[in-house]
């Protein structure tokens, strides 16, 4: 499960992700992080059964946590199934099926936006 963790630095420089890993014993995969001077956003992935424990612990540290279900959107009218997106995606979201149609494994997407910039046909976007 993907969780978007919002951190406010007013609470100091607590290493809350590391603390959460130690306290819960759950391994956390950091997919993407964007840290500003006063706040930060970290996209993490944890195994579904452990998500609640991780979420609760992070919240105790003062972080806001939301479950991320969005992923990249493909406009089928614009897409010509070329495959330019296939190799630029760090998460292997895109692949061809047997008929050379582009297929998406949306659950893997971490909304990094690399494919959106690479698509020559403006067929991909991060918002519905």
């Amino acid at each position: 499960m993907k969780l978007l963790v919002k951190i406010h630095k007013k609470r100091g420089q607590e290493p809350i992700i590391a603390r959460t890993v130690l306290d819960t014993g759950v391994l956390i995969n950091v997919e993407r992080a964007n840290i500003e001077s006063m706040s930060g956003e970290v996209l993490i992935e944890v195994a579904d059964p452990e998500a609640k424990r991780v979420c609760d612990r992070l919240k105790e540290f003062g972080a806001e946590v939301e479950r991320l279900e969005d992923s990249v959107c493909r406009n089928e009218e614009e897409c010509i199934d070329c495959g330019e997106c296939v190799s630029v995606c760090p998460q292997n979201v895109f692949s061809f099926d047997e008929e050379w149609n582009i297929t998406l494994k949306t659950e893997k997407c971490v909304l990094c936006g690399k494919c959106v910039e690479a698509c020559p046909h403006n067929a991909l976007s991060l918002h519905q």
Binding site: C82, S87, P120
Partner: protein
């Protein structure tokens, strides 16, 4: 010829012709043998759908009242070439909008026209006795035009070199996004479905031959510009009626930091007249080799990293320098198949018959580079050879003194073998002094990732390196990494005002 064109056309007209796609042909030859396939198959259809920059269309807009002799003309703010006649103009697909830049260009105008959208035509003129009007602005639809004739100087490359990137930065190219450090490989072309790969001697694909062009029944004019069949990079010049085209087979595209291009759908039917044609059309992706080129080298002659087959490229993953690297296709194989199938329907239903080229093609010609009468300046001509440098073991204090005495802001840092291992700037040294680390060695504060140039590099490339990396000096090094000089923004400034520099 073992089977004549007349014979094939008769079968097409009687509805008895056997038409297959170039994808089906290898299996048929496996099953029936070459002689059997020659007897059985009458026409092999091909197809490709990819970015083909060298494309565009001629328009005749009809005369306005009072009439105008268009000297400059725009469609949706994309400028046309109107130095032809009063109301004739050519729109190139890569031309960018004067208001929207690379988000909209000539290719988008063509796609909008064939999608039935209204386009704003603007024109200006000095006005003449016979054409008094000076400005014009009108909304037009494709069917309002007298003629809209697609005419593409270079389409349908036989095959393409694939692209990768050895540098530390992402490159945005006409081959798409190339990730740093050989992070991916981008390729183009339909492999075994590509028209010209099925006729390497250009015996059947040439002037006057009917083709599928963006959904219309078009025609080959002859070999295209930059055609190089001698090196298996032949191209075609093509034409077709824009009014018969479909947006399913013509799509505008924008490549980030590169610009506009147009995806063109093109297919050629090949009459199976003899055993050589059978053999040629039975080609498989495994037999079509191409080079992977390093686009990290900013010159015309880019090094080949590896030679691979289209089968490997299409598999989605290749091995490069001992690692698995993913591949991306820029052209659509799905669409290429659709085109070959559509063409199969056209021929099967008698809508298209076969024609031999009206003129022979020279299959041995190769492409030449540009003759440059003035060589662009090289780094060695403007670099500073009197360069103050420092040893990696020296301390910060020494560096500060050298910077002051040398009246410079950059010190290349050398190891015991006089090779450049870093660069230290006034900023790095000042920062160390504020932190009171004056006795630290230079190697602790220097930038280790040195962006450098060579004496033979074109000044334009060096200038781009400074700009892209937001730096102000480049050490000039030889092949062994030894320091020869330094090139600074100031040295480049010396060229200001000279002709080559805008």
């Amino acid at each position: 010829m073992e089977k004549s064109i007349e014979e094939i056309n008769l079968r097409i007209q009687e509805g008895n012709a056997h038409i297959v796609t170039a994808e089906e042909m290898p299996g048929i030859v496996d099953e029936l043998g070459e002689a059997g396939a020659l007897k059985e198959v009458d026409v092999v259809t091909t197809g490709t759908f990819g970015a083909m920059c060298s494309s565009g269309a001629f328009f005749n807009f009809g005369h306005s009242d009072p009439p105008i002799r268009m000297e400059r003309a725009w469609m949706n703010d994309v400028e046309l070439y109107s130095g032809i006649a009063a109301v004739d103009a050519y729109l190139g697909v890569t031309q960018e909008s004067e208001t929207q830049g690379s988000a909209y260009g000539g290719a988008h105008v063509l796609e909008d026209l064939i999608s039935g959208k209204s386009i704003e035509l603007r024109a200006s003129s000095k006005g003449t006795d016979c054409y008094p009007r000076k400005t014009l602005s009108t909304e037009i639809l494709l069917h309002d035009l007298n003629e809209a004739i697609m005419c593409n100087p270079r389409n349908s490359y036989q095959r393409y070199a694939a692209a990768t990137n050895s540098t530390d930065n992402t490159l945005n190219t006409y081959m798409g996004t190339l990730l740093p450090d050989y992070g991916n490989v981008s390729f183009s072309g339909a492999g075994l479905l590509s028209p010209l790969i099925n006729d390497p001697k250009l015996k059947l694909i040439g002037s006057g031959v009917p083709i599928f062009l963006c959904g219309s029944k078009g025609m080959i004019i002859g070999q295209g510009t930059q055609s190089s069949p001698g090196t298996l990079f032949a191209t075609l010049m093509t034409t077709g009626n824009l009014k018969e085209m479909s947006p399913d087979y013509l799509r505008a595209a924008t490549f980030k930091n590169y610009g506009v291009s147009c995806y063109i759908g093109l297919g050629v039917p090949i009459p199976v007249t003899d055993l050589e044609t059978v053999r040629n059309t039975a080609i498989r992706d495994e037999d079509i080799m191409t080079n992977i080129i390093d686009y990290g080298v900013p010159g015309r002659n880019r090094p080949t990293v590896k030679t691979v087959s289209y089968a490997e490229l299409k598999s989605g993953c290749i091995e490069l320098n001992g690692e698995e690297v993913r591949t991306s296709s820029l052209s659509s194989y799905k669409k290429a198949r659709e085109i070959a199938q559509e063409l199969k329907k056209w021929v099967s239903s008698g809508q298209m018959t076969m024609t031999l080229p009206t003129r022979p093609s020279d299959a041995s010609r190769t492409v030449n580079p540009m003759r440059e009468s003035k060589r662009t300046p090289r780094v060695m001509e403007i670099m500073n050879r009197n360069v103050t440098c420092i040893s990696q073991d020296a301390d910060i204090k020494t560096a500060a003194k050298k910077l002051l005495r040398g009246e410079t802001n950059h010190l290349p840092v050398l190891n015991d073998e006089n090779k450049v291992v870093g660069i230290v700037t006034t900023y790095d040294v000042s920062k160390a002094i504020i932190k009171e680390n004056v006795n630290d060695s230079v190697s602790m504060v220097m930038s280790k990732n040195v962006i450098s140039t060579t004496p033979g590099e074109a000044v334009d490339i060096a200038a781009m390196k400074l700009e892209r990396n937001n730096i102000s000096a480049l050490p000039v090094i030889d092949e062994e990494g030894r320091l020869l000089g330094i090139l600074t923004g100031t040295d480049l400034g010396k060229l200001l005002g000279k002709r080559w520099y805008k």
